[in-house]
Symmetry: C2
Subunit: 673 residues, 2 copies
């Protein structure tokens, strides 16, 4: 029974962990070459780097410790053989600031040695560490001019809480690793974010770890704490009616199996990795084709490569707020533990992971990822009526979801990858959290005389306009590595020769993108479909096997092309891009995105206009939301989500769920049907 | 306990039904003035009409028997008082063809008399009856020329099954009530739809009930039955792995209460009606506002008004296939019973309804609608990290879904209305079923020399290009009847005066639509938001209370404006329309859509360009899908769905789920957490 297998595996994992805690039997405990670094491996990286740069004589901070992904052909070879021992090299990349210089240190984990140690000399800085931010936000509380500003406003310094904000780049030629620090009032409400002390501009140099710029632009009232409370324990009656409990019951246990980080479920298998920067990474997703009697690969790798969140207020307090949440703060580093029964349904199973502290110490994140099946409606349904036959046939199905949550400043991102037995893959991202609020001396909309760059969501509180753009890296390998990108346009044809009673109809024109420029798509301009096909594999009737991108409603950037934030976030210029596979082109906004100048983005890489026809290609998809805030977003936002789908299109000979066995109906005690 | 209440109600309903079957205690058993006609009321309509037009001397067929909806002000008055007896008039509308003339007969059900009896003299015909179609499809089997065509092709007549197809209108000045009949081979496979006998054109006059046109265009091979089987019992191994069972468990029972057709759940209440033409109708949706201590109405009425499904093949076999599935065939009339545990999850509850046969007899549809709660992910989530506080707060929620399935020809539509405690309403429609297949003498794509107007989905089988357009009638009443339609545009502003380090930002421009022409919107042309607001009700900070339309990715018609099908389906010319409330403007394609000339559509009504500012207004929303078939759609399509959302926007003072009580966690026997 699968149930006992899953339980057995979980127990095994627990036993191994407890053994490790005591005797640390096997320092390199991983099962798949794409598994994230283990606790022992992170410690090993820490030790090796500290051995070369002893902290007695060096100032070290670790900004990234992650798997240096093996070459794709090595992985594919391993995957096709699955030897009992892992023959693929196992390396880690550490990005470490050592005495204010950024080192890229590549470490061979098996040989326990440094392979290379290069100093980054270009623009931009690594992902911030949580630790340095914790130090930076304490600085204002001991800084004379800030204390004076607080006193001048009649505020209580002991109730002030500060936070760090990345500064972006606005054409400066000289860069230092700096952040803005803004402060908020906590007092009676935990919701500091909606209670900014506006009008102060304060810059901290992270290398000097001191305040290097300070300006008090004048007193603006701190919005009141009234109605900003979100903790249920602090709400006053009347309360909403209590909902009834609802849980998912699986008498045979979960239908999926987790083996380390490898998941198999129904006709699907894939690997869930984890990266300190990207968070959840899906690899090697394949579907078992019953007719071809083999597993066919679809997705070599998929993850969220970058986010761009430009606020739309050009004034001194806000102009710089143009965040790149993955590269500046790290989706993986910002991951919080999922709460069973709350963040994931009661039938979910969880995976833990490790990230690193700034000193290189491994940090456990319990329940970083959850995996669960959910009711997936019917897959197809057919009933005959009106003709002399009597049949009612349908097949119902469930879906598998892999979920991960990242927290960044006020916002929480919920990353979800949903798999269906039909072969569809549906990535989605949802965000919740607290709006960026600008304090204003306005209590009612009628007092607004000029553009406030947002919506008055509460007295003295402007919810500032902003965008959320997410770019997915989707290295599709449709039934093999060599793929092409196909654009199908829908075109109106006018009937002018009287050959039909119709005056018009539409038909399709298919174009294969030859180079990167052919594949830069702004969605929504004209009707059509976009697919990645394998031109070397055809169905029995001669169609190229493929997968189609079913996009969400698209959003396009509204900043001008020459504006600095847009240069840095130029990967949002198109909704779809296709590049030839290149192991180093991972981060659409650049590897060093803090203070970046936009010289290492997807928009720059694709200027080479490389050949993408019948090559190993990567699809990049930008999804976005323009956010005009509303009072419902205050004091804490409801979930705002967007999703798209990758769907098999002539990939199978026919509907692949025809031969799916429906599960037996559930009967449970005390709940007669 | 709510559990026992729900069970009590269900038992009550069962008892009443069984009593009625025996003694028929109360002929007018309904509880709400918007309840669909009861079995007794349909019988009463039948009796009253037959009394006036005895079938001994008249030929009668009932094409519609439905509730003649009371005036809105009467309903609202009733709703505000909720007297124990229903004081609102109760009328039925019957559309009856009597001796080839279409009668609109309005009946007062309390007085048991005919209020009016008018003869329709305009273009178009009523919805087809199932009964007449059943007769029509038998005609070819006894028709000499057809039998000859079958023999000529070497086909077995006893394996031929036919079906009816509405004919549309292509500029003809003289109309008769006719349908095309097409025939298919059943033989070993039940999937007749993919095995057309192509090349035959056959027209049946429904009044004469005989074949009035016949043309054999020559022999085209009938696609093979191989691989067309969809019944699981007829599939051959190997099978896909059996999925594990998955059911939803609610130890306190469902969180909603059904009282007749009125549903209350958490902070929401609404009425589920049912119409023979529209199917499911949602009315009087209101949300209880904890802060204002009252229920606030949002949606007076919502339903799918029409569908338009134009196929894109101009040749003789296909040009006429431009279906209006709701008006021509009746969504309600085509409703099939939902299967517990398959079409709806195990925790669903079901509502039955009655429709009518062509002779006026009431027909029970068991389980026509299901209502269920489902896991709705978290509503919001917030955790503080990186600042010296330690909090993790979230509120999780479930969703309520009302679902209904309609079957039309090869297609099955699944209509869903999802409600969230945040106040969001998410209507969706999904379709499954069998493609319209054109038989061709082509077995491989390499043989295709000219436009086949579709995709070769199997040997000899072209899946023809087509669109699905759905138009929703959404009579929003945002906190009152008088509303306005607001267009918020997002505009780029260039910074040219050096006042900011930014070169650009975006801001919003709000325009209130004055007349119908201002509110005709093609989505996707420019970024922005669309809302219905109540300009007479403001939040405490002065925002108009409102609801926002969050659309799906839009589809626009590709037929030319002057093409006959597009004239009939001109309601698809825009994705959004707004009209002043008018009780008679219910069907966007016209009341008589079979053979319609497009003179009674939403596009015609709005030519009056009526005032819609601060009026009782109706929002119409067109969602659509262009369908380029794929082999996965063969022999039966996976679910293809589209959804949009109506979301509160400054409707509440703040996030309305802050005070929602999370349900207790579930523990059940044998499944320790």
């Amino acid at each position: 029974m699968a149930t006992s297998m899953v339980k057995l595996m979980l127990f095994s994992a627990l036993i191994l962990l407890s053994l490790q805690a005591v005797v640390s039997v096997t320092p390199l405990h991983f099962q798949h070459p794409l598994d994230p670094l283990t606790k022992q491996e992170i410690s090993l990286v820490q030790t090796i780097v500290q051995n070369k740069y002893p902290s007695s004589s060096n100032r070290l901070s670790f900004h990234y410790i992650g798997l240096d992904e093996p070459e794709k052909d090595a992985i594919l070879k391993w995957e096709s053989i699955k030897p009992t021992v892992i023959t693929v090299p196992r390396k880690a990349l550490a990005i470490v600031i050592i005495n204010s210089q950024t080192h890229e240190i590549l470490i061979d984990l098996k040989a326990r040695r440094i392979v290379s140690d290069n100093i980054h000399s270009g623009n931009g800085f690594p992902t911030l560490s949580v630790d340095e931010q914790v130090v930076a936000i304490e600085l204002p509380l001991k800084y004379g001019p800030f204390i004076e500003s607080v006193n001048k406003r009649g505020l209580n310094l002991s109730e002030v809480v500060c936070s760090t904000f990345t500064m972006g780049w606005f054409g400066e030629t000289k860069d230092r690793r700096t952040v803005r620090v803004e402060c908020f009032m906590k007092e009676s409400s935990p919701n500091i974010w909606v209670r900014p002390i506006s009008g102060l501009a304060m810059v901290v140099d992270l290398e000097l770890m001191k305040i290097v710029q300070y300006h008090d632009g004048g007193i603006i009232p701190v919005p009141t704490a009234d109605n900003t409370e979100y903790r249920f324990s602090h709400q006053n009656p009347p309360f909403g009616p209590r909902q009834h409990s609802l849980a998912t019951h699986q008498p045979q246990g979960p239908g999926f199996q987790i083996n380390g980080h490898s998941i198999s479920w129904a006709n699907l298998k894939f690997h869930i990795g984890f990266d300190p920067r990207a968070g959840i990474v899906i690899s090697l997703a394949s579907i078992y084709d019953l007719e071809k009697h083999k597993s066919r690969r679809v997705l070599y790798k998929g993850y969220i490569s970058e986010l761009f969140v430009p606020y739309q207020d050009p004034t001194d307090d806000f102009y710089y707020k143009t965040f790149f949440d993955a590269g500046e703060f790290g989706f993986g580093l910002s991951t919080v533990s999922l709460v069973p029964n709350r963040d994931c349904p009661s039938n979910a199973q969880f995976l833990d992971t490790y990230v690193h502290a700034a000193d290189g110490t491994p940090l456990l994140i319990k329940n970083a990822i959850c995996v669960f099946e959910q009711y997936g409606s019917i897959m197809w349904r057919h009933t005959e009526t009106g003709i002399p036959m009597n049949r009612s046939k349908k097949r119902d199905g469930s879906q598998l979801s892999g979920k991960n949550c990242c927290y960044r400043g006020q916002l929480r991102y919920i990353i979800d990858w949903e798999f269906k037995t039909s072969g569809s893959i549906k990535p989605s991202i949802a965000l919740s959290g607290i709006l960026e609020i600008k304090g204003v001396d306005i209590k009612h909309k009628s007092e607004i005389k000029s553009d406030q760059h947002g919506i008055l969501v509460s007295a003295n509180s402007i919810g500032v306009y902003h965008d959320h753009f997410y770019i997915y890296h989707l290295d599709l390998d449709i039934d093999g590595v060599a793929n092409s990108f196909e654009k199908t346009s829908l075109k109106t044809v006018r009937v002018t020769d009287g050959s039909s009673k119709r005056k018009s109809y539409w038909t399709t024109e298919v174009e294969t993108a030859k180079t990167e420029n052919d594949a830069k798509i702004i969605l929504g301009l004209s009707p059509g479909e976009l697919s990645v096909v394998n031109p070397n594999k055809k169905t029995s009737v001669g169609n190229d096997v493929g997968y189609r991108l079913i996009p969400a409603i698209p959003a396009h950037p509204l900043l001008t092309d020459d504006d600095y934030p847009q240069i840095r976030g130029a990967f949002t210029n198109f909704n779809v891009w296709v590049t030839p596979y290149n192991r180093t082109e991972k981060w659409a906004g650049g590897l060093y995105v803090d203070h970046s100048h936009g010289d290492d983005t997807l928009a720059v890489w694709t200027k080479k206009n490389r050949d993408i026809n019948n090559k190993d290609i990567v699809l990049w998809h930008v999804v976005g939301i323009h956010h005009v805030p509303a009072q419902e977003d205050f004091p804490i936002m409801p979930l705002l989500s967007t999703a798209f789908e990758l769907s098999p299109t002539n990939f199978f000979e026919r509907n692949p769920v025809l031969k799916t066995l429906s599960p037996p109906d559930v009967q449970w005690p005390g709940c007669p049907k």
